[in-house]
Subunit: 402 residues, 2 copies
């Protein structure tokens, strides 16, 4: 008998029929002899609807109140799921983030979990019930309702799996797993059966939308195996777990791409110690996550610094960049939203030289100019024109024979 | 400087524009120098929408989960109101029933308030903020989310006003106060400026929809003056307070009517002590509120008992009535949903004989048959055919010169 955390995303509980299908799936899992803890997102586009309402009533959205508003969404889906389970004679009991003991810091709209006190979930399990937990939400140390930000429900599920010492965590979504590339771009892309935490981290960090980065970090830190799969076909998906011998040992496992970032550049930065630190300190203090950073070799005592940030953060990022640029005596600064990023990910890369060369040659053959490069032990990312992204993904998928 | 609890019902916060109007009104109240605690219902028909969803996913609606579902409604309206207030530079902070310290019993979907611990509201007031509290909801002694049932938001508002020792409680709704009769039935009905708790109780208990009965009971018990008024015109409405000399001293203050009840009758009940008690004990144990009860004089050792219950409770009531009827050897039992009730209410009645006679004569002149009669010191109610109700209200309004 295993203890399984099953998380159902917004499309998986998008309407009454979907909720009944999810209830049926949980009932089947129980009949198999397993214990289930369910984690649910808000139904379909209901979070977007709430945000639209907020925009209609107000131009300021205090974080505490935005969190209070958005957490209405999971309340609806989780109580409906419990009712649907009751119809199938599966005793179920819903828990808000607060009731499930998910304690966070006070950083509204992007809170971090600081502790989980799952006593009430254990009690429910011991009483033979299915705890149905609201994803995405928690209670702060100040006893206010918080939300965990983008991908928060995945994080809730994995964190609960870790704290309940569950056997594994299943993430049900509208795609059937992790693919070697986005199947909408590369029709021949195939589903990966198993992938290591490290590779999944790189995929999530470089534009893969299947799992939220934070949930993969959590899973790796606490060694929680994740099974990403579809709630529409219910077929086996992709296992994300510690690297082992049974994994596919291709040099390159997947190609991911991302068109949600913007490139900021400061030209003619005086080449003195501490200047780059100052730029990124100012940006970090505004809570903006910088992704790729590239600094060119210094010419005549000055250098250019480029970096990428999420498009949503472009305004404040450019503002602070311009202030700092003028303060340090740089020549100029500008934003370029027309970029995209293409990344190769593969644990085999560390031991295979020549991957980088093949990647650059492939892009060159397609006439695609590389504007920025960044690498890790198991990833190579290139920033290119956004209009070249799909062509690059297709060419690389073929070149590496995925 | 007064402390005012202002409650805004579903139509008052029905859309983004209404919410902004409510925020504006709260801001004006503050500029007048008063402190405000706001209590809100769910937006417009959103509770009905949630109930429809529940019906779609499930035929069983466990009370705990239904409460969890429905409390999503006030979360949305209260956080949106706080955002709208923030836009007007009025600092506001929302509180769920649980956060506001509203502790209830564990009777889901119709919980009763057992205690209020308003520490967080006091803290917010002291910090110069407007606490915006979710109406209708609380937290049970078992730490589960509960709802207070029909009229629950009015009850929340009055109970908070009592526990915060507020100067008065304003109930904003879509009518401009308490009228001498329903203006849709009697176009010449006029608004009552002041009315006593006792009269308001009788009006609420006999079909008046303006204030929930429970909230008036609370107000009387804790002597909280209520001002019922419109959030559409914002004009002064009706004050409900302790009887004093300044009140209009008409003999009859108002005429109310009700068509939401059903009459149950048990015929040929053996006239022995304890039989009636048994019927009503069984019904009470199912949580059903019996309203009027009439027992005729015994003829040949048997009697007929009639009583009214809400139409929603007709099924279970008739079931238990039939069981008890057969157990005690009664002749027959049946339900009659085609009834309505017309009531005269007036504190002056106690000292004016002849009111009852005038009422009966008026109805007789209109050819309306009286099926049941019940009286209190300040109320006379007659059950008549539902089709006769409007005619009766019009005739009585004229006869008593309201």
């Amino acid at each position: 008998m295993a203890l399984v955390v099953q998380k159902f995303g917004g499309t998986s509980v998008g309407d009454a029929d979907r909720i009944k299908a999810v209830a049926d799936h949980i009932a089947r899992t129980r009949r198999r002899g397993d214990q289930v803890v369910a984690v649910v997102s808000a139904m379909g586009k209901s979070t977007d609807d709430l945000i639209r309402l907020a925009t209609e009533v107000s131009s300021t959205h205090p974080g505490r109140e935005l969190d209070m508003l958005l957490t209405a969404g999971e309340r609806i889906s989780m109580s409906l799921l419990c009712m649907a389970l009751a119809d199938l004679d599966v005793p179920a009991v819903s828990f808000t983030g607060s009731q499930a003991g998910i304690i966070t810091d006070t950083d509204h709209t992007r809170a971090k979990i600081v502790e989980i006190r799952p006593e009430r979930l254990f009690e429910a399990l011991q009483a033979g019930k299915v705890p149905v937990v609201a994803g995405f939400q928690g209670m702060s140390l100040d006893r206010d309702v918080t939300t965990l930000g983008r991908g928060g429900s995945d994080t809730t599920a994995v964190a609960l799996a870790a704290s309940l010492n569950a056997d594994y965590c299943e993430i049900y979504t509208d795609v059937s797993g992790v693919y070697t590339a986005d199947p909408r771009v590369v029709p021949t892309a195939h589903k990966i059966a198993k992938i290591s935490f490290e590779e999944m981290l790189e995929i999530a960090a470089s534009g893969g939308r299947v799992l939220a980065l934070r949930s993969v970090e959590f899973a790796r830190n606490f060694n929680v195996p994740i099974h990403v799969r579809s709630s529409f076909t219910w077929e086996p998906g992709t296992w994300v777990k510690q690297e082992d011998e049974t994994m596919e040992q291709g040099v390159v496992s997947a190609i991911s791409h991302d068109i949600t970032e913007v490139k900021l550049t400061i030209t003619g930065v005086p080449d003195r110690p501490g200047i780059a630190a100052r730029v990124f300190r100012e940006i970090a203090e505004r809570g903006i996550n910088v992704d790729m950073i590239v600094q060119n070799t210094s010419k005549e005592g000055a250098t250019d610094i480029s970096f990428t940030v999420p498009k949503d953060d472009m305004g404040p990022s450019l503002e602070v960049t311009q202030i700092v640029a003028s303060e340090v005596g740089a020549l100029n600064s500008y934003a370029d939203p027309g970029i995209g990023r293409v990344s190769l990910i593969g644990a085999g890369m560390k031991t295979h030289p020549g991957i980088t060369a093949t990647m650059f040659e492939t892009l060159a053959k397609e006439g695609i100019n590389i504007e920025m490069i960044s690498t890790s032990a198991i990833r190579i990312s290139c920033v290119v024109r956004q209009t070249d992204v799909e062509k690059a993904v297709k060419a690389l998928h073929e070149a590496f024979d995925l």
